[in-house]
Each structure stands twice: as structure tokens, then as C-alpha cells.
Symmetry: C2
Amino acid sequence: MAETIPPNAQPLIRRIESIALFELHDAERVALAALPMQSADFSARQDIATEHDRPSRSFTVLSGIVATYKTTRAGGRQVMAYHVPGDVPDFQSLHLEVLDFSLAAVTPCRVGFVRHEAVRSLLEAQPRLVGAFWRATLINAALSREWMLNLGRRDAYARTAHLFCELFTRLQAVGLVHDHTCALPLTQLELSDALGLTSVHVNRVLKDLRGAGLVTLSGKNLTVHDWERLKAAAEFDPTYLHLRRKAG
Amino acid sequence: MAETIPPNAQPLIRRIESIALFELHDAERVALAALPMQSADFSARQDIATEHDRPSRSFTVLSGIVATYKTTRAGGRQVMAYHVPGDVPDFQSLHLEVLDFSLAAVTPCRVGFVRHEAVRSLLEAQPRLVGAFWRATLINAALSREWMLNLGRRDAYARTAHLFCELFTRLQAVGLVHDHTCALPLTQLELSDALGLTSVHVNRVLKDLRGAGLVTLSGKNLTVHDWERLKAAAEFDPTYLHLRRKAG
DNA sequence: CGCAGCGTTGAGGCCAATCAATCTCAGTGG
DNA sequence: CCACTGAGATTGATTGGCCTCAACGCTGCG
């Protein structure tokens, strides 16, 4: 949680560039880079913000993976979204006073906090960015919808495959995939929180996926062995990600 | 689907008023009322827009209930959200070119279409409304998150109770509840699409809820007999609805 | 009157949860 | 170098919630 080296808005800028429907002006890029940002480090599993908070700032993920989650009284935990570098997981707090979910670091990660006033000035000075940020929040909503279809209507096998497809594609889009593998240090318990399953069952499903030669999640890496069949098993259609460019 | 009497932006204006964090100016109200709106009627179950469309206009619900849904290849159907009068279910199409979900009339309903250009001019002329509309889309996202918790972590009984809590509260907020009951002409099959269950199981859950004296869904009406116990069964906490005023 | 759509109920089966034990392996410290 | 520890992964046995299949009742309507 310590203050560190001057933060770097690069991931955010790259994200906005990939999201915006127009090419950024230099002025816009400069304004983004000049956002007064306070960086902080979190270790895995640490909460960054919790339900019912009333944040006066938002943050962007600089490195690592962050999760949005909610819990039931009985202790059930449901991860609603994972956030990769460049994402602004709690952008909504700019418009909604009280947070209706919690945010936690999944991996050790660095985030950059920006006060709401600074965001508001930025958007006033660079009004085209409003559309881009708005679009970003709408894409998040689109991801939740697919997630709901997943939770409500796909069995454990397809559901798990789908999660891997999504994460793989998104990490690819931010350049974090090499040799069909990406760093994904999720425990089976954490996976089960996202999938609405138990860790025991996740274990069995992973075994099946491995046995079928689709993917392996071992150690802290996810390796995709047969993308086409994985996609088929998951019924994965990346339209909902609203990516503008093909991932490379 | 026929053209009809001059449409009426009242539900939309009321909604925006209840959402905005400021009091609307007369100019803003007038601008909203002057939106060129083309109204259309849909009968129950008719699609209003479907996945992969590229809409050039959005619509607001004038009367009736509209559902957002997606389907799996196997035919599984998942309703992600219900929309009540005043909502703009596909506002996102203003910023996201291709629709990643479908929209259907749940009850017979009337909607008002507004071309995207008209919305853009409105938002340019009345920039404060940007925040209000943005807020509306963020509230929708908050609803999906609670829905995900529901699908992933609550059993059929609590899940059903929760859906009723939400719909009841929202319909109350737009004045559609009288005597602890509201019109809710959903078949058990439709309910099951929203709950991620089968209609057979929904039937049994409804029986239990009725037997426990919490709610009855009979004919086309939902009656809440014991709000407190219903809320408790559902673990319902209305924070996520982000209502500004207590419903009355 | 008879069909069609919806609600209701029962029997049986399956997927995933639960309970519980064992295994692996990276640390840690003596 | 090895015993010890604890977190996570793996596996088996059993249970239970929800699904599937199937039949029947009800009600509105052409």
C-alpha cells in the first residue's frame, strides 16, 4: 500500500485508445498522461475497496489482476469480473455515490488512484473522452451479461471453458499472452468464486479439460492447447467483448 | 408495431428526474419532451431488437415491461434484466455499435424510438444530462451485478424471492404498486428464464413461497404478504438499486 | 366443444455440493 | 539435510437440489 515511483498512465492510455471510436489527439493523450495519479501496491487478496464505501477517487489497474466481487450473508462469494491493466474497475463511483460491490487484488498488483475532481476536469477539458470512458463502462456491462448467461445457462464444463476463453482473449489484447500461455495465478478456490461452483468441482472440471486436451492451468499459468475446440466447448463468441481490433 | 398517437416522454423525464443528482432545469425538461420520438406498440413476446443488430436509434419504455435476454446455442434462454417504464434498455447502442443481447416485450407494451443523432444533439445542448444518462447505464450495470450474485450463489428459493423483491421495489418506485400488489404477467416459463431454473422447479418454489405466506403470484398479479420475511429470505438490500428517494 | 397454453404434481436421474481423507509441494527452521 | 507446517490440489463416497420426463388439470378462446 506504499507510495512508490511516479505512476505511469500508459496502460490506461493504451486502453482508452483501444476503446475510443476515434484516434486520440496529442492533447488528449497529454491530458491523460498528466492525470494526477497516486499509485499504490496491493498484495494478493487484499481489498482495494469494499461495498458501501463512498469513494472520492477511482483507480486504474497498472499491473496485475483485480476482481470485482460481492458476498452473500452465508459467506458465499461471487466474483463478477476480472480487471486487467488499463481497466478502471470503479469508474462508476464517479456517478454513483456508494459502492455496491467490493474490489480485491487477485495477484499482487499496482493501481493508480485518481481523484474524482481530476477526472471531472479532464472530461470537461477533453469532452471527446467522455464517449470513450462511457464506452468503457458499457463494455464492462456487456461482460457481465455474458457472465450471467454463463452462470444461469451453462454447465460447469462449458462455463469454465468460457471463463478461460474470455480471460485469454482479454489478456491477449493487452499483450500478456505468449506461446499460447498467460500468467493466471488463480487458485481453484478463487476460480470457484468466479464460476459459482465449489473448488472441489472446479478441480474435477479442470481435470476433464486437461484430459480433453483443451487447456491446462498449472502452477500459475494457463496454457491453451486447442483454441478451436475450447471455443466450441464454451460457445465462445467474442462479439460481447467489443474489441475494435483483432487480438495479436 | 403501428404508428400511433403522438408519443409522450413523461415516463422518461420522470425517470431522469429520479436518477439525476440535480434538479432539472426547465430547459432540460423541455429539451427532453421535445425529443423526436416515434412510438410503436409491441405485443407480448415480440422481439424489439435482437443480438447482432446495429441500431441507429434507442428506445425508452413508455408502458409495459421489456426484457433483455441472451440465448445459448442449446436453446437455453437467460433474461438479464427487466425494464420498467422510463428505462432506456438499449442506451448502450449509442456507444457500442453492435448489440450483444436481444430485447423483447414481456407484456404488451409501447416504446418510443429516438434516433441516435437526436440523442447526441440533446446531450450536446444539455450537457448536464450526460451525467444523468450515464448514471442510468451504470445503475443497469449494478442491477446485473446483483443478478449475478443471485444466479451464482443463491438457491432457487432465495433467488426467486430476490427477484420479486427487486421487481416489487422498482415497480413501486414508478408508482405501479397498490395494496401490496403489482401487475406482473410473467408465466412460470418466463420466470424460469430469468432465474436460471426450469419452469417445473419455479412452480415448486412458488408453491413454497405461497405456503410460507411470503408472496403469491397468481393470475397476472404479484402480491406481497410479508415484506419483511420476504426481504429476509432473499437477503434483499436495495442499496444496489441506487434509488435516490424512498419508494412510496 | 375441443384445442392450446399454462399450471400442477409425481417419479426417477444427474450434476454438482458436501464431507472427508490423502497428496503435493514450497517454505521454514532446527 | 530433513522434519515440520500449511496452503492448495486431488480423489472418493455420499447427499441433495434441481432437471427431465410424463401425465393430468385448468382456463380462455375460436
